[in-house]
């Protein structure tokens, strides 16, 4: 799945992220100098970008259950190919960074289809501090 230099695989949101109805196509790029953090950028508008991270290093106990409707929406054939990414929100100070545990981005690594999925149950916070993880 390695892409030629300069061309990143395009991730297509089957339904746009709330707040960004115009943007469906994104690329994911590792951020230099970190092992854990990635930039998710809109293909057609580089100003639209999110800092995302796999949950495991920050929230080892996090085990999101993706509902059937979302799996259907993504047309997932192999659930083990699902990649979960948390949207991080960096405020004025990095130590106040929060992660959205309620609504992770789920990517089917086979098809590169993605969606931001709201998990059932309401014990998860949209703004969980990273520092206390």
């Amino acid at each position: 799945l390695t892409e030629p230099d300069g061309e990143l695989p395009i991730i297509e949101f089957v339904t746009p992220m709330p707040g960004f109805p115009e943007h469906r196509r994104f690329v994911l790029a590792r951020i230099e100098g970190t092992e854990l953090l990635y930039a998710l950028r809109a293909v057609d508008d580089p100003a639209v970008r999110f800092l995302v991270a796999p949950p495991a290093p920050f929230f080892p106990a996090y085990a999101p259950e993706i509902d059937d409707h979302s799996l259907e929406m993504l047309q997932v054939s192999d659930p083990s190919a699902l990649l979960v990414l948390l949207v991080l929100s960096v405020q004025d100070h990095p130590e106040k960074t929060t992660a959205n545990l309620l609504a992770p981005i789920v990517v089917d690594q086979n098809s590169r289809r993605a969606a931001q999925v709201v998990l059932a149950g309401n014990e998860l916070s949209i703004r969980t501090p990273l520092a206390t993880a």
Binding site: L8, T34, E35, Q109
Partner: protein, 107 residues
């Protein structure tokens, strides 16, 4: 706003494919069943609006994807992460063999 009266067990249709059924009425609480095509996401309104707000905040903050900010965020981890990058060839990144030396080494 269109206003309709429905009894328990009755439904309304939105367009050709979305069916909303009143499943149960119990005091002030009403349970709805929603059938929608798989391309349609259904959210509680307050959750959707909160998510919209959170996403915009996350995207519009200072250059969240700059290396400096990212490194500071990565350093919030209390221990040296051993996790490898994500797989599947989804993400490009030079320095794939780099270790997590940039993360904090304190406990």
């Amino acid at each position: 706003m269109l206003v309709l009266t429905r009894r328990q067990g009755e439904s309304v249709m939105v367009g050709d494919e979305v069916v909303i059924t009143v499943l149960e009425v119990r005091g002030e609480v009403i349970r709805l069943g929603i059938q929608a095509p798989r391309s349609v996401q259904v959210h509680r309104e307050e959750v959707y609006k909160e998510l919209q707000r959170a996403n915009r905040e996350a995207a519009l903050a200072t250059d969240v994807t700059s290396e400096d900010v990212a490194r500071a965020v990565a350093n919030l981890l209390g221990n040296s992460p051993t996790a490898a990058g994500i797989g599947g060839g989804l993400a490009a990144g030079r320095g794939d063999t780099r270790k997590a030396e940039d993360s904090s080494e304190s406990e």
